[in-house]
C-alpha cells in the first residue's frame, strides 16, 4: 500500500505545548520588534517626549514626593509607552485573527488559549521596552527616586496598569476590524494621557474631568511609590487621591473595555 504514510524519519522530534508556546512567542516577538513604525510609537516617541518635558525642563530638579520632577515625568511617559504597547499588540492580534491568520494558526497544534496567552506575553514583553528605555534615559538624565525599590515597584505597577489596555485595543479591533482602527485607538491614548495628567500637570476643571478618564487611575498607581497619591497642579496646589479611588478607576475602566469587547464579539456571532 503506497497510500498516505508520513515518513516519520523526515519529521522533527515532537514539540510539547510549552515548546510550541515558546516558539510562537519568540517568532511573534521578533516580528513585533521588526515593525519599525510601531516600535517608534511605543518606545522612541515616549522617550523623546520624556526628554522634552522631563529631562530638559528647567523645573526638573524640583523635589516632589519621594523624588524629583524628572522622575515624575519619567514615570508618566513610561506608562504612556506601556499602554501604547499593550493597546497596539492586542488590537493587531485581534485584527490578524479576523483577517484569516487565526485560521492559519488553527491548522496547527497551537490552541486558541495558547494563542491568547502567547499574545499577552508578547504584549507585556513589548511594554517592557519603553519602560526600560525611559527609565534608563531617566537615570542618566537626573531622575531621582528615594531607594531602588521605588524604581522597581513603579515599573511593576506600570506594567500591571497597562494590561487592561489590551482590552481597550481589542475592543477597537472587534468594533471596527481594521489596523487603522487600532492605530486610531493608539492615537486616542494621547488624549487620554493628557486628561490622565500624564503629559503636563493639570488643574481646575480639567483635572476634575481628568479624574474620570481611563489613564488617570493607572497614572496615580504607577506614581504611587513616588507620590503616594499626591497630585501637584500647575499653580502649585497639592491634592491627594486615595488609593481606593485609583484602584476603583482602573477596575471600572477594565470592566468597561471588557464589556465593549463582549458586546462587539456577540454582534459578530457566527462565522
Amino acid at each position: 500500500m503506497t497510500a498516505a504514510t508520513r515518513s516519520d524519519a523526515a519529521l522533527s522530534s515532537p514539540r510539547g505545548p510549552g515548546a510550541r508556546l515558546a516558539s510562537f512567542v519568540g517568532h511573534d516577538l521578533i516580528r513585533q520588534l521588526k515593525l519599525v513604525e510601531s516600535v517608534f510609537f511605543i518606545a522612541v516617541l515616549p522617550t523623546a517626549l520624556f526628554l522634552m518635558f522631563g529631562a530638559l525642563a528647567e523645573w526638573g530638579d524640583a523635589q516632589v514626593g519621594n523624588g524629583n520632577m524628572v522622575a515624575h515625568t519619567m514615570l508618566s511617559m513610561a506608562l504612556y509607552g506601556a499602554v501604547t504597547a499593550t493597546t497596539a499588540i492586542a488590537g493587531s492580534a485581534a485584527v490578524e485573527r479576523q483577517l484569516g491568520w487565526g485560521r492559519q494558526l488553527s491548522l496547527t497544534a497551537l490552541s486558541g488559549t495558547a494563542y491568547m496567552l502567547g499574545k499577552a506575553i508578547v504584549a507585556v514583553c513589548v511594554a517592557v521596552l519603553p519602560v526600560a528605555l525611559i527609565y534608563a534615559v531617566g537615570a542618566a538624565t537626573g531622575a531621582e527616586l528615594d531607594g531602588a525599590w521605588r524604581w522597581a515597584a513603579s515599573a511593576g505597577l506600570t506594567l500591571l496598569a497597562a494590561v487592561p489596555f489590551a482590552f481597550y485595543g481589542l475592543a477597537a479591533a472587534l468594533l471596527f476590524r481594521s489596523e487603522a482602527a487600532v492605530g486610531a485607538a493608539s492615537g486616542m491614548l494621547v488624549v487620554f494621557s493628557f486628561l490622565g495628567n500624564l503629559f503636563m500637570p493639570l488643574n481646575g476643571l480639567l483635572l476634575d474631568i481628568g479624574r474620570f478618564t481611563p489613564l488617570y487611575g493607572p497614572g496615580v498607581l504607577a506614581r504611587w511609590p513616588m507620590m503616594e497619591g499626591k497630585v501637584v497642579a500647575t499653580d502649585g496646589s497639592v491634592t491627594t487621591d486615595p488609593l481606593w479611588a485609583a484602584v476603583l478607576s482602573v477596575t471600572v475602566w477594565t470592566l468597561v473595555f471588557l464589556g465593549i469587547c463582549l458586546l462587539a464579539n456577540r454582534r459578530r456571532t457566527s462565522r
Binding site: 500500500m1 503506497t2 497510500a3 498516505a4 504514510t5 508520513r6 515518513s7 516519520d8 523526515a10 519529521l11 522533527s12 522530534s13 515532537p14 514539540r15 510550541r20 516558539s23 510562537f24 519568540g26 517568532h27 511573534d28 516580528r31 521588526k34 515593525l35 490578524e96 483577517l99 484569516g100 491568520w101 485560521r103 492559519q104 494558526l105 488553527s106 491548522l107 496547527t108 497544534a109 497551537l110 457566527s270 462565522r271
Partner: protein
Amino acid sequence: MSSTQQTTQQTSAPETSAPDTAGSDLAVSAANVQKHFGKVRAVDGVDLTVPRGEVMALLGPNGAGKTTFLDMVLGFTRPSSGALEVFGGSPRRAVADGRVGAVLQTGALLEDLTVAQTLRYVAGCHRRHLPVTDVIERAQLGPLASRPVKKCSGGEKQRLRFGLALLTDPELLVLDEPTAGMDVGARAEFWDAMHAEADRGRTVVFATHYLQEAADFADRIVLMRQGRIHTSGTVHELTEGAPRTVSCRWAGSGSPAEVAARLGIALPDDGPAASGDRVAFSVIDGPEASDRLVAALLTEGLGHDVEVERATLDRVFLDLTA
C-alpha cells in the same frame, strides 16, 4: 512497511484505538452532516466518504455549501448535527496531529513577514514538521524565500499557502478554491506541484469553480447543490445521464418533430433545433433512445452525416445551477 509506520503513529495518538480498522481507511467520513446558521441551512445533510489516496473534487455553484463543509472537515466549525470523522477521529484532533494540511482562500498571511519567516513561524506551532528547507524546495519557494509577503503576487502567495499546508507532511490535503485569482501559467504550475503530491499517495480534497480542473485532476467529482450532494462520480459517470445531442443533415420528408414523436423520443419543449441544413435532437431519456433515433435516421434515410455527442461536464454543471 507502511503499515508498521501507521501502527507506531497510532500508538502516539491514543484516541485512534484499533490499528487499521475500516474507519482508518477513510480519510473523511460524513454521515448526515448538517450546518445551520440561524435559518440558513448551509450544509443540509451530507453523506460522504473519502477513501485514503483518493483525489476528490467538490464542485458546485456559489453558496452550495462547499466552504462550510470544508471548514467542518478542518475543525474550524462543528456540524450542527450528524457525524463527521477525519481518519476515524475528530477533525480537530486530526488537524492538531498534523495529519491534515490546507490551502485556505485569500487572506490568512502576515504581510510583514518574509516567505521563509512565515514558514518558520507556523512550523514552530506544529507538534512535528518537515525541515523548512525541504518544504521551500517542494513548494518551489526557493527564489522567494527572503521576499516579504506583501511583495508577493497572488500566485506566489498561494504557493506559500501550499508550502504551509505541506509543513507537517499531511496525509490529507484540503484545498478551498486553491487557484482562484491565479493566471493560467500559475494555475498550471500549481497543479503540476499538486500532481506530485497526489502521486505520493496523499488524499486530496479540493473545491473549485473550474470544471476543467476537476475533470483533469480528480478521481471523483462530487457535485454539491443547496447544501446537499447532488451527484458524484467520475466525469464519465456524471455525464452518463445527461442529454445526448444527435445531429444530422436532414433529408427526410416529414418534420423532425414528427419523427421524434413517432419514435417515442422525448425532446425538450423547444423541439429539435435547426441550423442551416442540420438538425439537432437533444435526447434526454438515455443512450437507448439516442441509439433508436440514430438507427431510424440511417435506415429510413432521414438523415446523413449523423453525429452523437455526449454532454460535457459544463453542461451537467449548468443544468445543476439552472
